[in-house]
Symmetry: C2
């Protein structure tokens, strides 16, 4: 089959890790007789440097005309990038929020999985890790505080800033459905996280989630307050299967969960809408300090490409093959610097990409 | 000296642990020739059971007429307490928010300290703990999403819920000053946590904090995004001295930090206003499952009483004596069940209170 993929190399280590993901996809094409055509799209710092804004209409059109968008990382080096002189709200982050909105990517999926080979990198004690943990955060991505009205005013010389957290039933229902559908393919448990003892939006969240749960009698639903969830991720991450939550809580909890695995260089993510189109990117940042040094771990991006094969292109077998190749290379003891440990073989970004491509 | 203390035993284990704190304070009075008079005040479930509401005007007046308020924990057992039939926004939590507002308790201080004797209870690996960590979260407590306007409306059968996050300069300045003053008495570092790449309120927060920092050239200020902070607390808690943040982020991060110590039964908290009056309570909850069984750890409440001596009554020597007594009893190997480990001596709530009182 033929597929059109929009590639956003981005800033920092972005171009290097995307190149390795492309290498792996080329191998998939060869082995399974597909054809992927790529269009390079600018976002974030790279777009500001070229066009003065973090996201252009043209870039949105290119993304929409594709079957999927594969991204490196945006952000770059605050000290050297020309865009850093822009005020914070106009910086690369703004491009990321804009593309999420433009493509209506309301469902952000972030797996937090502990590879058995990488247990030593996990900051938690062995007793807590137990047999390992494997959860996925389903974060609402186009509502809440991120997209509500905001303004800063001044009265009698005193500035006041206001942001708005708003959710309607439909927004909550569609993300809840995603979470329950995913739970069905996993261990049948959804933990819905909110702050229902304080927020109206959380009380609505809870009631809509309970309503959706009625259609999934095979899935266990539990509610957890966000402060408690931040504790439980450290105390006993094994308890979680699918965590469902709103945008800002999801931002905080998914980063915490990825650090709890100890190997953020391994963690992929997908941002989906109601169609097949999705945006796939590693959970980690653009690490400008090691950019261009063949040191970055490309695995999170390669696993994001695997998610792309699965969710946007319906190529499950191919996705399985990529994930199995990553597992094989880890089992053989190859490691980039960020996940290196005693007795393993240290390799660079390109070598890791070669090894995984060859293992397919 | 004579002091008036309002006591809020609260729900669950609250009455038991407050009794032990009182025992320790009695010993302080005896040794240092002070006189404390106590008024019992109802809040939360206990107040709902007695008066139908979680906080009465009379309770507020009693608290205001005191030099300090010492509290157990509120919340009780969802299954057996009569107040559980109230809708969530009218439950005990509402009493807690109301008393914070009524007493203008804008500064919530929550130390997260790892006792060397309790390293084994810490969920983090030894390499990460290193020589231990000792931070304090300074959380803004009377603004932000907790106290902004909120409403739920319905249009064409679709409900929408809105909460408002608002801060003005004055609210930010006074909490920032608290954080910098505290940092001066500690290791001279403030980490201000916000989401300035998304929120207007965070951008205002950042600019006001920078302004305040100019008066504290001896204190190092660093800004950190909230998602990154949630990661750093797990990755390297040693890096933090004082964490300064707004209400909701502080709720999440302080619970995460307390769990990172592994001994939440040890952690105290203080909520202060511009006067000397403050409210002191353990960081943990009301643990209804072990209520009335002489099992609860009273140390967090006893250490909260020590904070009360220090911040509201200006009795530093006495506060030091209580903290030293806790340290001595730990060193001698006495433990309640929650912090028990091999080779230590298991004691109940009352015995722990006796031991600490005797050690003064
Ligand atoms: C860069 C930032 C705006 C973004 C977010 O907060 O959503 C990032 O932290 C993420 O999680 O993708
Ligand atoms: C009970 C709840 C309203 C409260 C809060 O969120 O502030 C609690 O979690 C706390 O941290 O004191």
């Amino acid at each position: 089959m033929e597929y059109k993929i929009a590639l956003i190399p981005g800033d920092g280590i972005g171009p290097e890790i995307v190149a390795e993901a492309k290498k792996v996809l080329d191998r998939v094409c060869e082995k399974y007789s597909h054809k992927f055509s790529y269009t390079e799209v600018l976002l974030g710092g790279a777009s500001i440097d070229a066009h003065g804004v973090p996201l252009t209409e043209e870039a949105i059109a290119q993304a929409k005309a594709s079957d999927a968008v594969l991204m490196g990382s945006i952000g770059g080096d605050a000290k050297t990038s020309p865009w850093y002189k822009l005020e914070p709200s106009k910086r690369p982050e703004a491009g990321l929020l804009a593309i999420r909105k433009a493509l209506n990517l309301f469902a952000n999926l972030r797996p937090a999985y502990l590879y058995n080979e990488l247990r030593d990198a996990c900051p938690l004690r062995d007793e807590i890790i137990g047999d390992g943990f494997d959860m996925i955060i389903v974060r609402e991505l186009t509502g809440g505080l991120y997209f509500g009205a905001r303004k800063t005013t001044e009265e009698n010389g005193v500035r006041t800033a206001v942001d708005t957290l708003s959710y309607n039933e439909n927004e909550i229902r569609r993300i809840a459905i995603k979470a329950f559908e995913i739970a069905r393919k996993r261990r049948n448990k959804v933990t819905s996280v909110d702050k229902a003892n304080v927020l109206d939006s959380s009380r609505l969240w809870r009631s809509v989630v309970e309503d959706v749960a009625k259609d999934y009698p095979d899935v266990t639903l539990e509610h957890m307050l966000v402060d408690n969830c931040a504790m439980q991720l450290v105390r006993d991450p094994k308890q979680f299967d699918v965590i469902l939550t709103e945008n800002m809580f999801g931002d905080i909890l998914s980063d915490e969960a990825s650090m709890v695995t100890g190997s953020i260089g391994m963690l992929s993510s997908a941002s989906l809408n109601e169609t097949k189109l999705g945006l796939y990117e590693p959970s980690h940042g653009s690490a400008p300090d090691i950019a261009g040094q063949n040191k970055a771990n490309p695995i999170a991006t390669i696993l994001s490409a695997a998610m792309m094969l699965r969710y946007s292109l319906d190529l499950d077998k191919e996705a399985d093959a990529v994930e199995a190749a990553v597992q094989k290379v880890l089992t053989e003891g190859y490691r980039t610097g960020d996940i290196m440990s005693d007795g393993c073989k240290l390799v660079g970004t390109r070598e890791m990409g070669d090894l995984i491509a060859d293992a397919i």
